[in-house]
């Protein structure tokens, strides 16, 4: 196998919880707690999980918009976590982000042209004339028109704004796009347009995606491989097909069985997990899912399961599979 485009090892982010007027650190929110994965050139890795499990924190750390508490990020032959701020700024030309809320992420006082031009200015790409040309080119690529360049964000619909967000991310010809819930705020009919656009762009421009979302249908549709996070950790990671057809981790099984399917005749295998997601400030001992897991064993309460391959390309962190691992 070729060297992956991105490799993450033991990534952690602990946010301090401060207390009292002196602001002493009382505890930590273990938002991301020791995750490792790799992304191959040209593929889409989906990351799913419920609210607060650490998806966005992970995405932001990959670009060092957030400094990791621990762990290493390798990208295209460089260790990003070793770069100086200046070097990191340069490296960001190759990694761009698309956010959930196209409203909040576009400056309302700037024209679309100015918004799209900015990454070119920052990275010193081309002269003013070339930059302008590029803006118009990319507006067309994402299905808008060059006459849109003089307009302001509020003059666009949600779906159009998300196209602008995508165009902005593409301006620097990045290799990797981290999309954090890029279609969650959109209506179904508009969501389909944006997903198709992202797939077309990936083909045309040979892009690699990390696609973060909580909608399991959307993630299956767009991803080659999928990672499932629970309380700051990776519970399972596998080829999309394997993960959806033969989920191994009880949490993945529960998650999949909870998704409402748009077919009234579909009889689900019900696996309702009881209770709520525990707080990441005070995660359960052992396996973090043990408080809700229907298959819990004694060892689950005391020992953290290792995240490792059970079958080729299929990793899971669960004591049920400890035996079946290739030694």
């Amino acid at each position: 196998m070729t060297e992956p485009l991105l490799k993450v090892e033991g990534l952690k982010k602990y946010f301090p919880i401060k207390a009292g007027i002196l602001g002493r650190v009382k505890n930590y929110v273990k938002a991301v707690d020791d995750i490792s994965f790799a992304v191959q050139q040209g593929e889409t890795l989906g990351i799913v999980g419920e609210s607060g499990c650490g998806k966005s924190t992970t995405g932001r750390m990959l670009m060092r918009l957030l400094e990791p508490t621990a762990g290493k990020v390798f990208f295209d032959g460089q260790e990003l976590t070793q770069l100086s701020n200046d070097e990191m700024r340069k490296a960001r030309r190759d990694i761009q982000m698309v956010f959930q809320d196209p409203y909040a992420s576009l400056n309302p006082r700037h024209t679309i042209e100015k918004i799209l031009m900015e990454p070119l200015n920052v990275h010193n790409i081309g002269d003013p004339k070339e930059r302008k040309k590029k803006v118009h080119e990319f507006l067309e690529i994402v299905g808008l028109s060059s006459y849109h360049a003089k307009r302001y964000p509020h003059q666009f619909s949600g779906g159009q704004r998300q196209r602008i967000g995508i165009a902005r991310a593409l301006m620097t010809n990045p290799k990797l796009i981290i999309a954090d819930e890029p279609v969650s705020a959109l209506d179904v009919s508009i969501q389909a347009q944006v997903l198709n656009l992202m797939q077309d762009l990936q083909q045309e421009l040979k892009l690699t995606y990390i696609f973060i979302a909580h909608d399991l249908g959307v993630v299956r549709h767009i991803s080659d491989r999928v990672g499932v996070m629970y309380l700051g950790q990776m519970a399972e990671l596998a080829d999309s097909e394997a993960l959806y057809e033969k989920p191994l981790h009880p949490y993945t099984q529960a998650l999949l069985s909870a998704v409402p399917v748009p077919d009234p005749e579909f009889l689900r295998e019900e696996m309702l997990v009881a209770g709520d997601i525990p707080s990441p400030a005070n995660p359960p001992s052992g396996c973090r899912f043990h408080t809700r897991c229907p298959f819990k064993m004694a060892i689950c309460e005391t020992t953290v399961p290792i995240f490792a391959e059970v079958e080729k390309g299929h990793s899971v962190a669960c004591h049920l599979y400890e035996e079946s691992r290739p030694q």
Partner: protein, 339 residues
């Protein structure tokens, strides 16, 4: 078979917002009914008028700028649009109850869960003793599956998770055995494992208490899973109505078909999603003709010249599309969805 009893009958409802941009009919000539004990879904994309429909039933349309400008809402032979606020308040607590998307905004952060439940009971049961009220509050909390009811009564809303808060809201809504429960996106703010719990609870309560439920959602999966009958709305209008099985297996309106084709299905991978071109029109921008005409791949001259009526296409199926006018059927092949 016994004819089911209609409990709520909405006829020709129009709710208009009078704004700087002019009069916007957010809900435009909407007809539907709810039978006793059934779960009816309203589905549609953002801004199509789902919430305004439910607020109209509850008499809670913000006014100004909004106002019910036409139609009637019949509940037990009374037209709710004509009732004075004082009488409406009575209906709201006792007969028709509503829960919203974000339970936090409907709970008072300064009072304990117990205070709020007891207060709500007191309003309706003025002659009850303290003990009776307390017992009823605990009973309701158990009914909606909240653990350690007594302890939770002493806690404040922010100490509860989103799913628990939604359970509290359901408990409050059901305090007086309402005939109809309107749930406006009750699980949209919740995680999917918690959503599954809440939907299951709503179905159980519907079964056990025979409360009719009007479930509003933009999620076709939630409709398929929870409802018996469904209404599809687009730009302020009902475009299709029928039993859930029919609508999902044999959708008629081009919008409904497009919508169903565009949802990714978790069970298998579609090579490419169908996508409806264009955007949802802002309400009020299309004055005449089918509201979907500019995005519809079947549209023909008549679609932009006249408003299509809701055609009865089967005993229990209605569609607002000229393709289903018997006069047009010969000329248009309405079965082929190009994609």
């Amino acid at each position: 078979m016994k004819e089911p009893k209609r409990i709520l009958d909405v006829k020709g409802l129009q709710t208009t917002f009078f704004t700087d941009d002019g009069a916007i009919p957010a809900v435009d000539n909407v007809d539907f009914h709810i039978d006793e004990g059934e779960v009816l879904g309203i589905v549609g994309e953002s801004g199509c008028g789902k919430s305004v429909t439910s607020l109209s039933i509850m008499g809670l349309v913000p006014s100004p700028p909004g106002k019910i400008t036409e139609g009637e809402i019949l509940f037990q032979d009374k037209d709710l649009t004509k009732l004075p606020e004082r009488k409406m308040r009575n209906i709201r607590g006792n007969d028709i109850a509503m829960i919203f998307q974000e339970p936090m905004t409907s709970l008072n952060p300064l009072f304990t869960i117990g205070d709020q439940l007891r207060e709500a009971i007191k309003i309706h049961k003025r002659d009850w003793s303290k003990q009776q009220i307390q017992d009823r509050a605990v009973e309701m909390m158990k009914l909606v599956g909240l653990p350690r009811a007594e302890g939770l009564m002493k806690e404040y809303p922010h100490q509860l998770s989103g799913g628990m808060r939604q359970r509290v809201m359901i408990a409050m809504a059901l305090l007086c055995d309402p005939k109809v429960l309107i749930a406006d996106e009750p699980t949209t703010a919740l995680d999917v494992t918690i959503q599954a719990q809440i939907l299951k609870l709503i179905k159980e309560l519907n079964n056990r208490l025979n409360t009719a439920v009007l479930l509003i959602t933009h999620d076709l999966g939630v409709v398929a899973e929870t409802c018996e009958r469904v209404i599809v709305m687009y730009a302020g209008k009902v475009v299709e109505e029928g039993p859930v099985n029919t609508i999902f297996k044999n959708p008629q309106h081009p919008y409904t078909r497009g919508l169903l084709e565009s949802v990714p299905d978790m069970r298998y991978k579609k090579e490419r999603l169908y996508s409806i071109p264009g955007n949802v029109p802002k309400p009020g921008t299309i004055q005449v003709g089918c509201r979907f005409a500019d995005r519809c791949e079947f549209s023909f001259d008549r679609c932009v010249q006249e408003d299509p009526p809701l055609y009865q296409t089967a005993d229990d199926h209605k569609t607002r599309c000229f393709l289903f006018d018997p006069k047009e059927a010969a000329e248009h092949d309405r079965t082929a969805v190009k994609s």
